[in-house]
């Protein structure tokens, strides 16, 4: 994948864990992050 796409993914994927409101994402939430960053298709399907 182009590195700029991975940059966009990294920004959406890694939210600030120092925040009191931080929590782990569900599988579906993580899949949505991938999809919205342009990572679509079978290769990018989480278990």
């Amino acid at each position: 994948m182009p590195i700029d796409a991975v940059l966009r993914l990294a920004r959406d994927w890694y939210t600030d864990p120092r925040s009191e409101s931080w929590r782990p994402r569900s599988r579906d939430e993580s899949q949505r992050v991938l999809t919205e960053a342009g990572f679509v298709g079978e290769f990018w399907q989480l278990p």
Binding site: Y14, F43, L46
Partner: protein, 146 residues
């Protein structure tokens, strides 16, 4: 000490001071025994974010940071961090929230790669590709390998 306060302490120290805490430091900070600190790390179980070393119990991965030195180096001022992979090195840059200099190498030709990234940059400014070896279905089967 609960999981949330422990998580925040780990990340605050890592990002602000540029260093990974030992279980001894965690124990001292929270006024618990070292074995209780190691137990707390084992019991965090917050997804794949904070993983203790399977052999020592010490912090191993503090996603997206690596506790061990890797080929993915990120610097801001006099602080230096390591990431687990190319995706994570960009995640580190994002969490640090300051201008960073990234040093890594091409996994194909081993050529050096140097990048400078500002917090609001929308482009890395280089024509590079990131290779994902495994499909997402298999990422968490062996996170160390991934």
């Amino acid at each position: 000490m609960n999981s949330s306060t422990l998580r925040r302490f780990i990340y605050e120290t890592l990002i602000d001071d540029g260093r990974v805490l030992s279980s001894g430091e965690i124990a001292t900070h929270f006024g618990v025994s070292p074995s209780d600190a190691l137990q707390a790390l084992r019991e965090m179980k917050i997804g794949k974010t904070i993983l203790p070393d399977p052999h020592t119990g010490e912090l191993w991965m503090v996603g997206p940071f690596s506790a061990a030195e890797t080929q993915y180096s990120i610097r801001a001022g006099n602080r230096r961090w390591f990431a687990n992979c190319a995706w994570d090195m960009l995640g580190v840059a994002n969490l640090v929230g300051e201008p960073v200099d990234i040093e890594t190498q091409c996994t194909d030709c081993a050529g050096p790669i140097g990048l400078h990234l500002e917090p609001d940059d929308e482009s890395v400014g280089a024509d590079l590709l990131v290779h994902f070896l495994l499909p997402a279905q298999r990422w968490y089967n062996d996170i160390g390998f991934t």
